[in-house]
Amino acid sequence: MRRSLAFLFFLVLAGAARLEAHAFLQQAEPGVGSTLQASPNEIKIWFTEKVEPAFSKIQVFAASGQEVDKRDVHVDRADPALLQVSLPQLAAGTYKVVWRVVSVDTHVTEGSFSFHVR
């Protein structure tokens, strides 16, 4: 019985899990470090878990440091792990996306990435 329990314990810990308990960036559009031929209409970031809309945000900055997004950050109604913000027509250049989200277990995560428009 003890051996069975120990084996079960090992199996459980050794098995792969697909769980995240802090919201981290899983995927972004435009992609992290990507180069685009045309200005994107919006920034979409998928997180590893659902985020709190009231305290989650995305900001997009031009190389000059000016914020260029439309400040309409919102969580997708169908997917609570998807945060998005609209963009105006962007000129060629490098842009920095800065995000800060709060997950439902109250943990705060933040990060940034860049993309380029030709």
Partner: protein, 324 residues
């Protein structure tokens, strides 16, 4: 500073919720009708249990307010001094999952405080209140799962169910140790335990045995969800804390097994050795201390990123030190 405060707030909140649930689980499941038929001694035992419940609720209330304050500061990115002066606390309370759970918890704590106060003032109403308070205690305990790591996982309802069961089992066993100590102090006046008292101890022993089974199964499920690999146990802070918790849990099990042996075979309704009874009381005290240490680790685990988290982001910063 806020990290340490948060760990303290979480630990006190969890410990108070476990104790509150443990008191009434002990009354309903282990004590049963024995308490009612024990006359004045039974009423005194009831009064002490209600006092214990009152203090656990006071601790739950203050730690809940502290926890809420720290979360508002963390979510809004403001300092602790400014956290409650603006609109952020309303946003947290009304617009977040944590806030909604907190509304429920504060409501339950308020209602339970009122009922416990009634029970302390009117001893005839205590029996009727016990069942209601037991249900409220379970709601208070289970609602903790909705603000834990388990709430954020994608594998639902497994995450929430596992955590809720884990909390209930911990409440039944660890939370019941202090009521058990009080009960033993009452029965320990005489060397002769008496059949009813022995019956209570045996029922608590059986309850604890079931709780340990639930704790092991739900603990394995939670570990699968939050740790993910054996390597993560040794390479992450979360894993190290979990190993500490498992070590303490193993020692707790040792004490529990010894007590179970004493209760099942050593105690005699008419002639129990005073040494054996003293050992049982000592073991229960050690168990309670170890249980408190486990709860402190659980409070710390709640502020630590799970071992499985955050492997997919190329560019991220986790701001746990300044947050929750």
């Amino acid at each position: 500073m806020s990290d340490a405060l948060l760990i303290i707030a979480r630990s006190v909140q969890i410990a108070a919720s476990l104790l509150f649930a443990g008191v009434f689980t002990f009354e309903v499941v282990a004590l049963g009708r024995v308490g009612q038929s024990a006359g004045d001694a039974g009423h005194e035992l009831d009064r002490q249990f209600f006092c214990l419940a009152l203090w656990s609720l006071v601790a739950a209330l203050f730690s809940a307010l502290l926890w809420f304050w720290l979360v508002v500061a963390s979510m809004s990115g403001s300092s602790l001094g400014d956290a409650l002066s603006g609109n952020a606390w309303r946003m947290v309370l009304l617009q977040t999952e944590f806030g909604r759970v907190w509304q429920l918890r504060l409501g339950v704590i308020g209602l339970a405080l009122a009922l416990v106060a009634v029970g302390l003032l009117r001893k005839k109403s205590r029996h009727a209140l016990t069942l209601v308070l037991w249900l409220l205690a379970l709601v208070l305990l289970v609602s903790l799962a909705w603000i834990s790591h388990a709430a954020a996982v994608r594998s639902q309802p497994l995450g929430l169910l596992g955590d809720a069961l884990h909390l209930c089992a911990a409440g039944g066993w660890i939370g019941g140790l202090l009521p058990l100590a009080i009960f033993l102090a009452h029965t320990g006046v005489s060397v002769s335990l008496g059949e009813p008292a022995l019956h209570v101890l045996r029922r608590f022993s059986a309850l604890s045995f079931c709780c340990v089974g639930v704790l092991v199964v739900s603990g394995l499920s939670n570990s699968w969800l939050l740790v993910g690999s054996v390597a993560a146990l040794f390479t992450t802070r979360y894993g190290a804390l979990l190993l500490c918790k498992l070590t303490l849990f193993a020692v707790l099990l040792g004490f529990g097994a010894r007590n179970r042996g004493i209760i099942r075979t050593g105690l005699n309704p008419t002639a129990t050795s005073p040494d054996l009874l003293a050992q049982l009381r000592r073991d229960v005290f050690y168990e309670a201390c170890l249980g408190l240490a486990v709860v402190a680790i659980v409070g710390w685990l709640g502020t630590t990123p799970p071992a499985r988290s955050g492997t997919s982001s190329e560019n991220r910063t986790l701001t746990i030190p300044s947050s929750v």
